[in-house]
Amino acid sequence: MTEAMVATSASGTLAPRRRFMLLRRLATHRSFQIGFAVVLLLALAAVFAPLLSGLDPSAMKVRARFKPPSQAYLFGTDMFGRDIFTRVLYGARVSLWVGLVVACVSGFLGAVIGILAAQFRALDALVMRLMDALMSFPAILLALGITAALGPRMESVIIALSVAYVPAGVRIVRASALVVRELDYVQAARIAGASQLRIMLRHILPNSVGPLLVHMSFVFAYSILAEAALSFLGVGVQPPTSSWGNIIAEGRDYATQAWWVMLFPGLGISLAALGLNLLGDGLRDVLDPRLKGVG
């Protein structure tokens, strides 16, 4: 047996494979379980809205105005006799869709800009000043300005909120990327002659997005709240399309008469935000590097 073969047999065995550790840990995390269940429930409700309620959200029935919650009208009716339950279900579609798209778009842009900024010093200074400028505006004000300029529609809201939340994403990714690019395995790739693009895509990106994913779940929640605020103010989704925000707006004048008009969309917003926060907490706990216990 040659010397080399002694070394060969000597490295020892590997532990048996435990696949999908991350997913398993996520699945057993209490906060994540609850958050995920809530969000899933809301999403399913939104998707299957027509099945859950056979009614038309815009159908007005003058005879059925201001009916309190009952068996026929689960959440009651509004000043036009429209079924609030149906309107809330269809409103969920809008809110969740806006939240999802904003989270994805701002996350994607944040990742791209963040990694580029971390990689190229010259770009970095410019980008960070730009982000600082954007961040100096409160997100709602910024969104107000943009929707005012683009005209009040769901698409404007999405664009506006995406822009408003990009800087935070950039910061998070840039911070991680700056650390990762100094690590030995990136140096190893440089030594082997890897191009900047390869380093950014294969090494820096996959190892910098953990915190971003957590952040995105919170952006999802913020967007739902922001969209509701914008629609409430009248610069977001316009009636008759229902969004949780504009249902509340419509119900404001009748708060004492028909409290259910404001309550149920409000509950929807709270539930969605809560669920997403719990989900985000779970993600953060699982993705954060944990201290190994045994010394």
């Binding site: 047999s9 000597a10 532990a15 216990g293």
Partner: protein, 329 residues
């Protein structure tokens, strides 16, 4: 004579994703007054866990003490109230850690950090504590102590910081100083200085020292007695001369053979290190019988059948190896 500290049958477990795993098992040893004990082992051997357990420094939620006692001054430290332990930590038993960079608080001056333990245990006033702190810095041979005492940790080099750590540890004249890899992060020449300091302090203050290290050379030059740990268990304990001249446990032998020799052999032969095959077992790995078995060249049937017990084979020499301690097959 009663030991200063007597660790008896200590078993500690940690919580991980895979459930509770045993970090150390059935660890028993005594430290006498003025003793100089070395504890040597590689990663996963449990030496740091043992040290931290002696002062019950592990987090409550993720670790638990399954069994054992740590007897000091007639009391079991593991059963004591937290308040009682706080009195002992720093005053009777003190500890120095490995990484001087993170052991000192960066926003407090040296004076504040040394004074903290003095004012806590001895009730000194601020001016009194400051004077004593300067004395202590002199004691650990930090030049220009009067000026240095007001500096922040980042202005000091690694070697200096470690001396400050030692000063904090000996401030209240503890009976036992536990030093967990105190020189591992330091340069060789600085390491020699710090070890010499520890030797001198031990002589001057008459305190016992438990020195933990993975470096056999450090242990050989410092300790009077040595405990060898592997995979959470004590595998051998002997006076230092015996251990290095005539080790009995195959792991100890393997370790000695794997350390590259610095002093030349007679012919300056090309050197080939004797590696121990395999790797250190993961604590959660179930191994039947002796935990060193899979890597040992001298196993017999009895080794895999049952875990060997730690037996005394000579005066002051204990061994956990069935074939070599005259154990029956």
């Amino acid at each position: 004579m009663t030991a200063l500290v007597s660790v008896q049958d200590l078993t500690v477990q940690f919580r991980t994703d895979r459930g509770w795993i045993t970090a150390i098992e059935d660890v028993s040893f005594d430290i006498a007054e003025g003793d100089c004990l070395g504890m040597v082992g590689e990663s996963g051997s449990g030496k740091s866990v043992t040290a931290l357990s002696m002062l019950r420094l592990h987090a409550k939620g993720s670790s638990r003490i399954v069994s054992g006692r740590i007897v000091h001054a007639g009391q079991d430290l593991l059963q004591d109230e937290e308040a009682e332990l706080r009195r002992i930590r720093g005053r009777d038993i003190a500890m120095v850690f490995q990484d001087p960079m993170s052991s000192l608080n960066p926003v407090l001056t040296i004076c504040d950090q040394i004074s903290e333990t003095l004012r806590l245990h001895q009730g000194l006033s601020r001016p009194q504590a400051r004077l004593r702190a300067i004395e202590l810095l002199d004691l650990v041979r930090i030049p220009d102590a009067r000026r240095r005492v007001d500096e922040y940790p980042h202005r000091l080099s690694g070697g200096m910081r470690q001396r400050v750590m030692i000063a904090i540890a000996i401030a209240c004249r503890p009976r036992l100083l536990i030093a967990d890899e105190p020189t591992t992060a330091l340069d060789v020449t600085i390491q020699a200085q710090v070890l010499e300091l520890l030797r001198e302090l031990r002589a001057e203050l008459g305190m016992a020292v438990l020195l933990i290290s993975h470096d056999l050379g450090v242990i050989a030059e410092f300790a009077r007695r040595v405990i060898v740990m592997y995979a959470g268990r004590i595998v051998e304990e002997a006076p230092v001369g015996t251990l290095f001249r005539a080790p009995r446990h195959p792991y100890t032998e393997g370790l000695m053979a794997a350390v590259p020799a610095l002093d030349a052999g007679p012919n300056d032969e090309p050197l080939r290190l004797q590696a121990i095959p395999g790797r250190i077992p993961d604590p959660s790995e179930p191994i039947a019988g002796c935990r060193f078995g899979p890597r040992c060249r001298h196993t017999q049937a009895s080794c895999h059948a049952a875990a060997p017990a730690l037996v005394s084979i000579a005066d002051g020499h204990r061994l956990r190896c069935t074939p070599r301690s005259g154990g029956s097959a």
